[in-house]
């Protein structure tokens, strides 16, 4: 609760300042938005480590394979970072750069998922 209050205050104040700066100095407004985004993400790092601890617990208790869950976590991370970066690019009015970032994100995620696809194909081949 305390954490989300801080995040909300930082977000609202940052957004207001960025709105004021946007008319006179749009570059500074973009940098401010980026900085606030980084601050918020770093504040949430504690929560992410909590989620990872639970995933580790499930891995050990339910027999969840690390090789299966790690690519998912990486993909989700790639998805979040891609969204954040592409949105910043769109805010800066660079739609083509945003598209390039999204494409790079998708390519990275697919690359991360390749071992999973390979393992799955091997498993199906083994079953047959």
């Amino acid at each position: 609760m305390e954490l989300i209050t801080k995040v909300a205050i930082i977000g609202i104040v940052g957004a207001l300042i960025a709105l004021l700066l946007k008319k006179s100095n749009p570059e500074m407004a973009l940098l401010l938005a980026l900085s606030i985004g980084m601050i918020v993400v770093s504040m949430m790092a504690g929560l992410i480590s909590g989620i990872m601890r639970i995933v580790d617990m499930i891995e050990s208790q339910a027999g969840l394979s690390h090789a299966a869950v790690l690519p998912v976590i990486k993909c989700v991370g790639i998805g979040i970072v891609t969204k954040f970066a592409s949105q910043l690019c769109k805010d800066a009015g660079e739609g083509s750069v945003a598209s390039a970032v999204e494409m790079a994100g998708a390519a990275s995620a697919l690359y991360i998922a390749l071992p999973l696809i390979e393992t799955l194909l091997e498993m199906i081949g083994g079953l047959l």
């Binding site: 339910a62 299966a68 979040i80 998708a106 995620a109 696809i117 498993m123 083994g126 047959l128």
Partner: protein
């Protein structure tokens, strides 16, 4: 006087012989049952009981086969195993839900729907996590069918011999050959068509969930329909064949038995009826033995099918529940994939069920075979 004494001695001798013969009846009956047991291959039926059935039935044999105590043993064994089976199924469900929840985390920054690569990765992760489990359970179904088939090769001839001895000569052989034929057909179809089709179904539903849209949904439905239809048609054909042959050959056997009894009684007055009664005793003994073999066989088959059925049934239900949860948590594709895995378990369960049902029908119809009594 001398003649009178001779007559008296003869009468006493006859009475002693009659008494001796009367006293020997239980011993002869026991010997007859033992001989019948040996002739009908009861020892083989007992020694060929699969290990999983022996573990449940303990030291129960054909002579002590009792449906009530057998069901009690099966029930208590199932109670002991259910928590283990449930734990295994719940573990798989937790693994799948964890992956779905991780993917749903990304949904917080994508309010308009996840980008394709996240469900793709999640789908692959779920498939990798549970495919080993699915494969081992499909193999369990295949092994159960093999076990049923192997045991049927010992049980059914013995049951058919006992049924034939109890008067159902034509019906017994017809039912035995029908069951042997249909079991072979089922196992051949299972190994060459249904099992590969289930693997293909798994591959298709995984690919369908990984891709956007329902491009392969029709193909998955078709594969599922082919599998279920084949099993249904085979079971129905077997049941129909068994009913028709049972009705025709049963009437023929009843008529033949009555005819033989009448012919014996009328052709040989006095001795004929004695021979006819003695034959009825043998037939009654064979009927009792046939019923005992049938009850024992049914219990053994129930034991063989018990763990696969429980495991597959529990997995089916848990996967369906997990699919419902996954559908509410994240992308619909996850729900479809998990539900599809559940359907694969359902198909294997139906396959094992078809094999078990064939054996049950065969045993029940052999027990109920018209003996012409």
């Amino acid at each position: 006087m001398k003649t009178h004494t001779r007559k008296k001695s003869l009468m006493i001798a006859l009475l002693v012989l009659a008494a001796a013969a009367f006293l020997q009846v239980p011993a002869l009956a026991d010997e007859m049952t033992d001989q019948q047991s040996e002739d009908y291959g009861v020892d083989g039926v007992e020694s060929a009981v699969p290990d999983e059935a022996r573990e449940i039935l303990g030291d129960m044999d054909v002579s002590s086969a009792d449906a009530d105590s057998g069901f009690q043993k099966i029930l208590s064994y199932a109670k002991g195993k259910i928590s283990e089976i449930l734990t295994g199924a719940l573990r798989s469900a937790v693994v799948m839900i964890t992956v779905v929840m991780l993917c749903a985390l990304a949904g917080t920054v994508y309010p308009d729907g996840l980008p394709d690569f996240i469900p793709l990765c999640g789908t692959m992760a779920i498939a990798v996590a549970v495919m080993g489990d699915v494969g081992s359970l499909i193999n369990m179904g295949r092994e159960t069918l093999d076990t049923l088939s192997t045991y049927s090769k010992v049980l059914l001839p013995s049951l058919a011999t006992a049924a034939a001895a109890s008067g159902a000569v034509t019906a017994a052989s017809a039912k035995y050959s029908a069951t042997a034929l249909f079991m072979d057909v089922l196992i051949t179809i299972a190994n060459s068509v249904i099992m590969p089709a289930i693997y293909a179904y798994l591959a298709v539903i995984t690919a369908n969930s990984a891709l956007r849209g329902n491009a392969l949904a029709s193909a998955a439905k078709l594969v599922k329909w082919v599998c279920t239809t084949m099993m249904t048609v085979l079971t129905l054909a077997f049941t129909a064949y068994l009913s028709i042959t049972g009705a025709i050959s049963g009437s023929a056997d009843a008529a033949a038995t009555r005819l033989a009894k009448t012919a014996l009684s009328s052709a040989l007055p006095v001795v004929g009826s004695i021979v006819s009664d003695a034959a009825s005793t043998v037939v009654a003994g064979a009927s009792i033995l046939r019923n005992s073999i049938g009850v024992f066989g049914m219990l053994a088959i129930l034991c063989v099918c018990l763990i696969p059925f429980l495991t597959l049934g529990v997995r089916f239900l848990i996967y369906k529940a997990a699919a419902a949860v996954a559908g509410t948590l994240g992308d619909d594709r996850f729900g479809g994939l998990i539900s599809g895995f559940g359907d694969a378990f359902g198909m294997v369960m139906a396959l094992v069920g078809a094999g078990g049902l064939m054996m049950f029908f065969s045993i029940i119809s052999s027990i109920k075979a018209v003996s012409g009594g």
